[in-house]
Amino acid sequence: MDVQYFFELFLSGLTRGSIYALIAIGYTMVYGIIELINFAHGEIYMIGAFTGLIVAGILGTMGFPLPAILVLAVLVSMIYCAGYGYTIEKIAYKPLRQAGRLSPLISAIGMSLFLQNYVILVQTSDFVPFPSLIPEFAFLEPIAHIFASSDFLIVVVSAVLMAGLTLFIKYTKMGKAMRATAQNRKMAMLLGIDADRVISVTFIIGSALAAVGGVLIASHVGMVNFAIGFLAGIKAFTAAVLGGIGSLPGAMLGGLFLGLSESFGAGYISSDYEDVFAFSLLVIFLIFRPSGIMGKAKVEKV
């Protein structure tokens, strides 16, 4: 196999992997702190895309330049989705915090269905075109046939956001509080950490990142639909588990690992089995290394 083809597949896997990683962070952060799989996270991503579409539509008719529309659409949609994430946690998960693990999980599935149907009602059940907000970068023109501007932007934005998030968790007071809550919530609360606030911030950050992903990816593929969150959410969740759920670098690594294996699998074997590759990996990992690439084997507290 020639080198250029390998490189093309590598780049398309990189784009795909960055998308998964961006969404996977939301799953892994929430799991790390309250051990809940937030099934509504894929829907936040979808709502982010719809918000971006509406903002872009309004700004477009007002005659804003393209880069400004993109930045504003991403920002507005981040704020909007952060609000959704915050509210969902307060309505659907907080009242169930003492109720064991199964109840919030069911509540999360309910929330996911509710949000999908809500979007069908207030927006549409059709496929809607999404304007191409990402400008064509002149310096990428020579390699645009293998790595388009939108691929480039998705990879760069994901990398920057993840680096920023890592720094935030490592060096700020809130980051420290998050790590403490993740380790032992009761102890953190005893030491004066407002766990409710930490959980809210977790949901806000995760949702805002999903919103960024939603707008960029919708612009990349050129369409949105109420159901786009489902498959994206499942794949991102798989990425989070591959990387080691609860671990931030794990989510990034898991996303890239999944994206690249799907891309190479499709390129060298057959795209018929794209999902088979993804979910076989999940099964293999769950059997042989259930804690994922970066996860630590969990010691059950007695």
């Binding site: 998308i19 496929f127 593929v221 794949k235 390129g267 795209s271 018929d272 794209e274």
Partner: protein, 369 residues
């Protein structure tokens, strides 16, 4: 249930028995007239009644009146064989039906042995004509592989395609289209299939497949599936600067495709049903239905009407109900029908029925002549 069916049959037979003299031309009408699929079969009965009445009012075929023998198979293969035996023993020499492909396939060996001409308005299974096992079978509807055939002929004949990448969405409809397309390309021998792949509907990105298209050196992409995946594919193909023709099926010949894919949709080809609503005979048939039954006709009415007209023409021109004489007329004589001017090929498929190729030009699908 059984009592109900037979009383229905008796009633229908009685209704036509009044006009029947000893020397009539018996035409069987078989299909689902009760049960879940009755809505597919009853419009055919109505079409047969309308044409029979028109012909009989004008003095019949060569002086003989048409007598319809209506039989219900509920689209069930096991009932269809009974129906076929009954029609053959009743002396029907022409049968309009059956409606469902499965029931038709079950009944055909009996008709073949009795040399009864069968014209289905709705059985689309390709095997029925292509297997060559049922020489007495004709149909006035395009078979399931007609779109793939049209697409391949268009790609190879009109666009001069040499290397074709065939993609599908792994669904029954899309995969069926793709498999037929592959078969026709290979049989034609003028082009080769350089890639045959399924894609995952709803995936965030198809760039790996798009790179594979480039790698394969294809000059044409044929895609079986629906518009959401098609619009993602065409936009990613444009984005990756790959210059190929894109041909698809009537799942893509939908205005939503143009709306969603926008300027990337320009130049895309898709096959879709021929527009026959403008034909004078089509309007006339619908008016006749309204006059006789007071409602708009249902599914397969047009093609059933066409089948009945073709049958009447065959009997009239052949001057008898001898199968070989009728078949010769069917294969050579052009008949004006509500689905266009048709004749039948040697395998029994109607020529000039079914699908046309359309291209997106300036945001609209334009029929390619």
């Amino acid at each position: 249930m059984k009592g109900k069916i037979s009383s229905f049959v008796v009633a229908v037979c009685l209704a036509f028995a009044g006009a029947a003299s000893a020397d009539t031309i018996k035409i069987g009408v078989a299909g689902a007239h009760t049960g879940d699929l009755a809505s597919y079969g009853l419009p055919t009965v109505n079409a047969a009644k309308i044409v029979a009445k028109q012909v009989n009012d004008k003095g019949g075929i060569n002086g003989k009146q048409i007598e319809l023998v209506v039989q219900d198979d509920q689209c069930k293969p096991e009932l269809a064989t009974n129906v076929a035996t009954k029609l053959v023993s009743d002396g029907a020499k022409v049968v309009i039906g059956h409606i469902c492909s499965g029931a038709t396939k079950a009944a055909l060996p009996i008709y073949t042995e009795a040399k009864v001409m069968v014209i289905s308005p709705s059985a689309t299974n390709p095997e029925l004509t292509q297997s060559g096992q049922y020489p007495t079978f004709f149909r006035t509807i395009a078979s399931d592989d007609a779109q793939a055939k049209l697409g391949v002929d268009f790609a190879v004949g009109k666009l001069g395609a040499k290397k074709i990448a065939v993609l599908h969405d792994k669904g029954d409809y899309g995969k069926g289209y793709a498999e037929f397309a592959k078969k026709f390309i290979e049989e034609g021998g003028k082009a080769q299939v350089v890639l045959f792949e399924g894609i995952t509907p709803g995936a965030v990105d198809y760039s790996a497949v798009v790179q594979k298209i480039r790698q394969s050196g294809a000059d044409t992409v044929m895609f079986g599936g629906y518009h959401p995946e098609a619009s993602k594919l065409v936009s990613q193909i444009k984005k990756k600067r790959i210059d190929v023709h894109f041909i698809s099926d009537d799942g893509v010949k939908d205005d939503t495709f143009i709306k969603v894919a926008g300027k990337d949709a320009e130049g895309v080809y898709a096959s879709g049903p021929k527009d026959v609503s403008g034909l004078a005979l089509n309007k006339e048939a619908i008016e006749a239905h309204k006059a006789m039954f007071g409602t708009d006709p249902g599914a397969f009415f047009d093609s059933a009407y066409a089948a009945m007209l073709a049958a009447v023409n065959a009997v009239a021109k052949a001057g008898s109900t001898d199968f070989d004489a009728m078949a010769k007329v069917m294969r050579s004589d052009l008949v004006e029908t509500p689905v266009g001017t048709i004749k039948f090929d040697t395998r029994g498929d109607a020529e000039g029925v079914g699908f046309s190729m359309y291209q997106v030009q300036n945001g609209k699908y334009v029929e390619m002549k």
